[in-house]
Symmetry: D5
Subunit: 154 residues, 10 copies
């Protein structure tokens, strides 16, 4: 029987350790995605605590990032999703928030017209971010791709 039954690290602490290790090793998020054969975006979200990682994935990432065993172990914990994990006043996140504010009803109307009554899944969902060069200033292009789910009537 161990003396301290509480695990030494949770997913958010593991994310902090991952960010420090990434700085130390000089690896890019794309390198980490390749290490587990997943997209850069999903891998970043997972390492920040938003998606589960299998023991194999955690081990591969731990090896790439030269993480201590407790961090690797913490990466195998369930994800910690929720509003407290992101600060919507952080300037980049706020711009996303403002896009939802300005275009949210537009998206609702266009989805309703094209698909009928339902939603865009945030679960059966994938996301992609890339740089598009532009002489007037390069652009960030974020693609949100979610399955349409119709409301069931019964």
């Amino acid at each position: 029987m161990s003396i301290t039954p509480i695990p030494p690290l949770d997913r958010l602490q593991a994310a902090t350790a991952v960010l420090a290790a990434k700085r130390r090793t000089g690896l890019a998020w794309a390198d980490l995605g390749r290490a587990i054969d997943r997209s850069t975006e999903w891998t970043t979200a997972a390492l920040l605590g938003q998606h589960p990682l299998t023991a194999e994935q955690a081990a591969a990432l731990g090896s790439a990032l030269e993480l201590d065993a407790p961090v690797v172990e913490a990466l195998e914990l369930p994800p910690v999703r929720g509003a407290h994990v992101v600060d919507t006043s952080e300037p980049i996140v706020y711009r996303l928030q403002e896009m939802v504010q300005v275009y949210g009803r537009t998206i609702s109307e266009l989805v309703r017209e094209e698909f009928g009554d339902g939603i865009v899944s945030a679960i059966d969902f994938e996301m992609d971010l890339r740089r598009v060069e532009d002489p007037k200033g390069d652009r960030v292009v974020i693609t949100l791709n979610g399955k349409f789910l119709p409301y069931r009537s019964w």
Copy 2:
């Protein structure tokens, strides 16, 4: 001197009138975009009150939608942007909100790694929504395209 100095309609009331006229005329948002030679997305946002419309654009949309003169006039008012215009608990909008919650820090990290210290503009920005057919259920693909703006140091 007129008797009622207060304009009969504001942008939000004009948006309600536009939605009613759209139902009555059976026009699609894409038809309205074509009427003013703008994208479907921008036109929808503008008619919902989020972007300014010139007198010519308001007249063309008023003609297509068979709007009354006071509604057309109200469409020429400045836009009314802000948090009170969208209800983030509306199910479609909430899924966008949850995407920001789950992927907001991921986007911050990827933008910082690729571009350095700065933000994705919500102003020098365009947005596109389209249906992608999929045998497992069609998908909604939303593209957010904003200029990267680096923080100035001085």
Copy 3:
């Protein structure tokens, strides 16, 4: 061109009119469900403004409830969903809220163990409420039935 472009009633006002008509006619929610061949629960939610009704459904309900034409027309408007539509401090709703508070993490854990990483859909969803007689006091049994949606990784 009509003089008043704003529709006389919205979905929430239509719901108020429906409740008054229901009292006047003495019909039960189950009668209204039968009138459109849908479940009592879905029909109640739709008449309270949470689901769309087709022109045929609105006409059948308008006929059963002896509704005025503007109310019937308002029933065909899109639903108005969101946090402002329900008062979570209303005593019955609060008990539902407290059930989520007390058993929310339990449900998360049991879903994760049984199904893996994902959610219970509130969209591909149906709900059923019935009375179960009990000598110690009859019971309300509410069944929530939602499709499991696994998180996509990519």
Copy 4:
């Protein structure tokens, strides 16, 4: 007289220790329910800190989960119920929240019609969660079963 009068663990810390022990031992929630002859759902809620456990129940669960003595002792503390124990923005919990939002008034109306003025108890209450296989995707069926309590007039 002991030197540290403050108990080493509270119910929330005990819940964290239980989750770690469950991962270590590979037991299922149903196994734990069987260990104390209670339902899986009640047992899960109790281990997460929402219900009291007797000394016997705590000992049986401690033995099954190979828990340290301080964790077993903490399981005998009174439950810690309240809004701070659950994060309503966690994606599964939010869907429950949205169900309350969309169907809360429907439930109020149906209860009032069927039972009269009163509430559905969240105390004289039991809950059941099970998987229902479905070729279009398995479903989570949650049954909420609460006694109807009529308002007293006096």
Copy 5:
């Protein structure tokens, strides 16, 4: 078919009309309780919109208070309970709020010790307010009387 399907008054407007009629007629709350053979406290709460009134009760109260027919009709509507009905910063209500703040945990502890795990019902509940003369200043004595409801385990 009536021209105005929306009822002219709701319960809160009826309460305002009742307060005006009470001032006009000079009746006391106790007189109104006697008119329907209920306690003063329950009757006051009912007239303020917190409890349902039968057609007979509404008629008796309407006769005593010389209310118009639409007010009497509105008194028969279902009650409107919820946090928006009371302003907790109103000085008397705030003192009740502060009593809950100062003595809430005390009540929880004493109930748990005396009755075990459960709550004091706010539904199977009655309340009584009376003046107790005191040479140092008369006192308001409020008695809260609720059934103990034990948590069910299953």
Copy 6:
């Protein structure tokens, strides 16, 4: 000059230590009230940190509960009252909260009618909780007894 000028325990930590000692010693709240010749209710509130205790009272309670010296010393600190000390979503406290919500305006009206413009003191106040046996289920009867304080006009 001492090395650690900050006291080792505050009133809330003392309350936690008191609850643990009460469990250990098996004393009832009434026993503790008798130990200092005060009511059970006041004593419970005081031990939970809501009222000041004299050095004599703290010593007597420390002796009864076999408390360490630092806990006894902390009991002599000023009380820590305020909204953060109680969680109004804890199920028992919430029922009190709901009673205030449902009957708050009723109490305001009855006080105004009986006493005139003023409040019920929460300071010159005493509270009493007792069990009343009832064949349909025992009842919790809480008596709130506060001095009426008239508003001064000047």
Copy 7:
């Protein structure tokens, strides 16, 4: 039986009418205080809806301010106190708020030291505001005078 049972004005609307009449008549608050033989401060608060006025006081003020009968009648209604009546972000009110923020704990400590455990009554209270000339800029001196109320122990 009157046709409109709802009174035409409430206390807040009466306050608006009083402010307009005060501008029209050019009376000062002190004039109004003299008209009912009360202090300027109490009278101002009463006319703004925070204190009750007797029929005689309302008539005297109505005569001085040349108010319409419905406004005079509304002045006799019970006061409307609560947080919604004042906007704490209004610049003068905010400075009062900030004084509470900066000196609130100071006042608590000084009251406790001088008087013991209790509060400063906001009910058995009077307030006075006067100008004090000062060559460096005149000063506003506000005197808050409340009875000390000791906590009762029992």
Copy 8:
């Protein structure tokens, strides 16, 4: 170069240490004011962290209160003002809050009438608290004295 660059105590921790030392030494707030030749009120506020203290003042107070060197050093730090420093639900502070609520608009009106458009400074401000004996119960008299600052127009 020191090993721990972070100072051991901040102003709030220093305030806690001061309160403990005051209890230990039995000094009154007035004694502390005399020790630095300032008013009791300003000195109390300063020791609670709301005003800056010079090195000389900190030393004199440290000597009077027999404070450790780290506490004296912390007293020289800049003040920590802001809403988080005071709990407005603490009963004494709440009464101040309620005074602002009930008399805030009155003060605004009286200041505007007497001085014109401007505010009462909370910076060029002093405050005084004293006991006034009264056979019906002693009174707390708090004098708020702030410079009137007129709005500049330009």
Copy 9:
């Protein structure tokens, strides 16, 4: 005695009427400033309801903008300042808000270092906004000019 004692327009409604009249007449804010010999910035703020206008100023502005008499009269009402007058989520206002968020502590530190303990007045204050041409994109330069006010000690 007039029939409608409530003034037909308040400052916010007057501001709406001013914006409509400005559009109709094609005047610039600078034209309006010149009409009353005040700065463009102060005049804009005053017309939006944030500053008082004398009868002469209101008349001059009413003449320039061809306003109706009730609007001119409303411009003479006291200003309506407070948080509800501005929506901090409006995109321009939010950027100001974010500047305060990013640079607020910086400004506090620089003011403290340069001036000592005190604040920058928002009352003895003036503000100026101008365009500065820049080949990379013109710039908005906003100058905030407030008197330093030292905290008084006493």
Copy 10:
């Protein structure tokens, strides 16, 4: 592999250490700006955690302030921006907040008139604070200089 993978200090802790070192060394913010050849304002914001510092900048500042290696290392971490970093109730920051409240709509109107539909960038932005001597009391002049960004239409 290191034993503690979590970095010992974050940007906010580094800011606390910087403030202590600045006090110890007696350096001014302007000295620190000169040490890295940047403005005083930008340097202050960066040291408080709002802007990134290069390794060279961190080393130069660390040398000037005689910082420990862990603090210097922490200064190289990414900035921590967001609403939690500033307390808007701190008196200086609140005045900035109030300026936004009073003049926010004015700035929106003037920007729209002069530049058209768009915003003032808070990213391509610089800020300057200086003392202006004035016989009536010196003034703080803060210049906010942001690029105008027009909304894109597409």
